[in-house]
């Protein structure tokens, strides 16, 4: 069984859920992809041109998240947020 379309759907939904910070949906997607990985289904090269940009999109988003999280965590840890929010 080819899982390309499923993988495309999961990546699309992950980008959307991460945009909306929908934790419940992200947890569900995580469970879905773990099951997918365990299903021993095949990934075909056929529509690689469709899936690579989506993977790249998620990768860029995660990099942005990482930077933003770092900044927020740093400020929170130093208890500087209150000063900023004055």
């Amino acid at each position: 069984m080819m899982i390309n379309q499923t993988l495309i759907d999961i990546l699309d939904e992950t980008v959307e859920a991460l945009s909306n910070l929908d934790l419940e949906k992200l947890n569900a997607l995580e469970r879905r992809i773990v099951l997918l990985a365990e299903s021993n289904s095949n990934f075909a090269r056929d529509n690689i041109g469709l899936i690579l940009p989506k993977k790249r999109q998620l990768e860029i988003m995660l990099q942005n998240c990482h930077v933003n999280l770092d900044a927020l965590t740093r400020l929170h840890a130093r208890n500087m947020r209150n000063q900023w929010a004055q």
Binding site: I10, A17, S19, E30, M61, L62
Partner: protein, 465 residues
Amino acid sequence: MGSITSLIDIAQQALMADQEALNVTSNNVANQNTAGYTRQVVNFQSVDAVTLSGSTFGSGVTASATSQRDRVLEQQVQQQTQTQAQSGAFESALQQVENIFGLSSTTSSASSTVLGTAINSFFSSLTALASNPSDTATRQNVLTAANTLAGAFNSASNQLAQVSTSLNQQVVGDVSQVNSLTKTIASLNAQITSSSPNADAGALEDQRQLAIAQLSKLVGLNQISTENNGITLTTSSGAVLVSGSKSFPVSTTLVGGTIHILAGVDGQDVTSNLTGGDLGGVLQARDQQLPSYQNELDSFAFGIGSAVNAQNELGVDGNGNPGAALFSLPPTPSGAAALIAVATTDPNAIAAAAPGEGSAGNANVLAGLSSAGVMGGQTASEFLASFLGQIGSDASAATTNNSAQQATLTQLTTQRDSLSGVSLDQEAANLTQYQRAYQSAAQVFNIANSIMASALNLGVQTTVT
């Protein structure tokens, strides 16, 4: 104090405080669709108690409204707005370049584009000439195909120049909007400093944030909070746009046919180091990407034209004279795509014969140029495929990048808009939720990467931690 009158006073204060809370709530509801509006919350504060003869009497309660503003998130949204606006403008410019070369999601090969078809037709006409070198109509076909090829180069080059011109116009339009907004921000700075030097200025601050957000769509900014609730804005390269109640207009000037941007107190040229916003994307496309494509196109026109000219000059034309250049070209590749033209209207000028023979020896070699390395070891078709492939790949990467930046902007905006308080507890909960969301998404990415890498044997896997 403990009299009926004072009890009534306390009750009245409580009622007024409740009324203030209702006003704030209705104000929030009324402004829920107002751009830039920051939700306000009510702070109830008990008035100092009074002690008389050992007994303490409460003096009532007052209410005040404060805006739920988180400047860290505001700044992150602004920075992301700048990044997204730049990637959007860049993507838009590259899509125009794709259109010039007839590239779309349905383009199956470089040879089916206008330039690809023109190149194939030209070499096909030379192959036909080799079979029938004395036929005038066949010779005329070669000239027609040469004209079509030169026209395809001219057209692509002109359209690239038009994109550049339209980007210049976009720069002028953006600069005009920047000046209008910086003037507004400076004016709001003055009002805020005067009315609320030490506290949130509510609606005025909302208006200033909105203006800064609009400015962020146009240009990359650094924002510095100053005393008395003021804000100083500079470009990403440090040129001052707003300082206190004063704005410093940005201007444009024409340098070598290109619009340059002057900004800051001394009006320095910031064109080469301006990033972020629509201007950043426009300048990135105009000054980096387009010249690179133009150079490639020029080299291509020059390479094909020079190779054909050199071979034609080695043959003998239809009048028995030594062959001459078939294409007129500039002395160097620069500008070749715009200037390439067919140098003759005489079909006999094509040197089909090789010296010392009266047939089509040279026409065969001319036709064979289609499979010769006329472009630094690459054939014309290979070079075109590589050139168009690069444009398509750049445009696709720009689209992907812009989609990701847009999604990140949505995420930060969601976070900012859902802000319920600035208490450390609430903040910690928000951060934890953000962290978990990130971890789940990272896990999805890593597993997807793993599924694809093992199936495609891509070798190195990327891991997001």
